[in-house]
């Protein structure tokens, strides 16, 4: 990353605990804007915990707390002055399991994050909803039934809906926690295409179990193992000439 480009998000010595157990150990990383950053590693390596520390979801878990710093555009987000709610509107998250709100329609799901800071005029909402659904490549499939229940959609459609819901409030960063893990290959492919397009407007950090997905979609890759950040660099470099032997062992499938 060029020295003069400000990272959109960075961490310094981030250690994330569950009680007295450190699941993420002193990780210092930088994420350049408008790129896709993949976090890979075997199960339990701490990549999801790390991700959830970025939007302060980690402290919602039982016994979750951190030491260290996390900066969004040079502001440390772990200070008492920072509103967690505002943070989460600037850093959005899509989860592994599609979670549309079951009592809301498709329209209301997408608009869910928009109405939190005051009412907006109807026309504005309509416009944002349509734009978000288009960017999530879902508009054509649902434009005639925006008011119907969101849970009638298929798994892949629901996940794209969640994506639309997340991008509607125009966050700066989007965190994806294994977003295609419960989708079929077609659904997976569509999400990956979207990720590629969305990086134009957002900074994307994606945790994935699937190395090929990381290789296909991301600009940088970070390898986690047992809570520690082992190696980080441009994706092509990590996958062709990894510096660390643990990294190499993982990507060649020798463990994990």
């Amino acid at each position: 990353m060029a020295d003069d480009i400000q990272p959109r998000m960075r961490t310094r010595n981030l250690t994330a605990y569950y009680g007295t157990n450190a699941a993420v150990k002193a990780v210092t990383l930088q994420f350049a804007p408008n790129q896709v950053h993949a976090l890979i590693g075997p199960s339990g390596c701490g990549k999801s915990t790390f991700l959830r520390s970025l939007n302060r979801m980690h402290e919602m878990s039982v016994g979750g707390w951190i030491t260290g710093q996390v900066h969004l555009d040079n502001e440390n987000v772990y200070t008492p002055e920072v509103s967690v709610i505002q943070l989460r509107r600037r850093v959005g998250m899509v989860f592994q399991k599609p979670t549309p709100f079951p009592t809301k329609s498709i329209y209301d799901n997408v608009a869910a994050g928009l109405m939190l800071d005051g009412k907006r005029p109807r026309a504005e909402l309509d416009e944002i909803v349509e734009r978000s659904l288009r960017r999530a490549a879902l508009w054509d499939e649902v434009k005639d039934r925006l008011k119907t229940s969101a849970i009638a959609l298929s798994g892949g459609q629901q996940q794209r809906l969640c994506l639309a819901r997340t991008i509607a409030p125009e966050p700066e960063v989007i965190l994806l926690d294994e977003p295609t893990a419960s989708l079929d290959p077609q659904g997976t492919q569509r999400i990956e295409e979207l990720v590629f397009e969305l990086k134009r407007d957002f900074t994307i950090i994606i945790v994935t179990h699937n190395m090929q997905q990381a290789a296909r979609t991301s600009d940088t890759t970070t390898f986690f193992y047992l809570g520690a950040m082992i190696e980080h660099g441009p994706t092509s470099q990590i996958f062709t000439t990894p510096q660390n032997e643990q990294t190499e062992a993982y990507i060649t499938g020798r463990f994990g």
Binding site: A22, K25, T67, A228, M229
Partner: protein, 328 residues
């Protein structure tokens, strides 16, 4: 980027406080919910306090003798609850003796043997039975059950079992035995559904292990499932007992409401709950009210203890089975 070593864990004092800034609204929300949650234990304490204070005149006058004295004379100001306690225990016990085997049989049948088609209707029937109000049971008991008992069942029992003092004597109709019968019918749905929950919580591995060893279905039940669920079933029975102790309307309509203890089950009797229902409206003086409140207090303490014990037993089985012990 180089890796780094995990730092030593800062001690508790240095750990930052919860950073998820709880906004004012969140705190208000939690405060309201806390108030609601507090209401429940507060209610229990209030119940206790109000009852104790209401019973105070009687407690001071009679003390613990209240529980062993037999004279209940509002005019003379003498109150003894012994016949009430005996009547309560007797009707409940007889009801249990009749209800428990039947209820367990139904519960075991439902969970282990019944074909799929039959399960739903039977389960629904049990629910409906549990929903029938006590006073309706009483109504049916007075006009349908009691005549049958008086004209057919009781004479039969007297003929066959008349050598026992319990089944001798005049048959009036309203009696301890009649009340016990309606009580049995009323607590059956209750014991059935709780036992069923308990049996369902027994892990399948137990069943399969027994069957794999060559046991018949019944033997699997007898040797593997019931022992496993034993404390839960006991809990269900005790819960049923707790219910029976407190039943009021149906009992007062069938028991005859007489303050005396006689060996014959065909004779009228009284229970703690029934006396309150019957005499409260007509009581005149403070001591009479206090005496009945004292009865209510005794009844309350007994049922609280029994229910607490039963819940602990059931909780143990559900927790042990690892399933999210469904509440009754």
């Amino acid at each position: 980027m180089a890796t780094s070593v995990a730092p030593t864990i800062p001690d508790r004092a240095a750990r930052p406080r919860s950073l998820a800034g709880t906004s004012r609204r969140d705190q208000l929300f939690r405060a309201i919910l806390t108030a609601c949650a507090l209401a429940i234990p507060i209610l229990l304490v209030m119940l206790l306090v109000v009852l104790v204070r209401g019973a105070d005149p009687a407690i001071r006058k009679f003390g613990f003798h209240f529980i062993v004295d037999s004279v209940w004379d509002p005019i003379a100001g003498k109150f003894g609850a012994f016949p009430l306690i005996v009547g309560t225990l007797l009707t409940s016990l007889i009801a249990l003796i009749v209800a428990v085997p039947l209820s367990l049989g139904v519960a075991i049948y439902l969970t282990e043997f019944a074909p799929e088609i039959v399960r739903k209707p039977i389960a629904m029937t049990i629910e409906l039975l549990a929903a029938i109000p006590s006073v309706v049971y009483g109504l049916w008991g007075v006009f349908v059950l009691m005549p049958i008992l008086r004209t057919a069942v009781f004479p039969f029992l007297r003929t066959v079992l008349g050598f026992l003092p319990f089944f001798q004597g005049v048959i009036y109709g309203p009696s301890v035995l009649a009340a016990s019968m309606i009580l049995a019918i009323m607590i059956m749905p209750f014991i059935m559904s709780v036992s069923r929950e308990v049996l369902l919580a027994v892990p399948n591995s137990q069943r399969e292990a027994a069957l794999a060893l060559g046991a018949t279905r019944w033997e699997a039940v007898r040797t593997a499932i019931v022992p496993y669920a034993r404390s839960g079933i006991l809990g269900a029975v005790i819960l049923g007992l707790g219910r029976a102790l407190g039943e009021t309307m149906a009992v007062t309509m069938l028991i005859g409401n007489r303050h005396e203890i006689v060996a014959s089950l065909f004779a009228p009797g009284y229970t703690m709950a029934a006396v309150i229902a019957n005499e409260f409206a007509e009581a005149q003086d403070r001591l009479h009210f206090a005496a009945m409140t004292y009865v209510a207090l005794v009844l309350f303490l007994v049922t609280v203890l029994i229910n607490a014990a039963a819940r602990l037993m059931i909780w143990r089985v559900s927790r042990g089975a690892g399933s999210g012990g469904k509440e009754l």
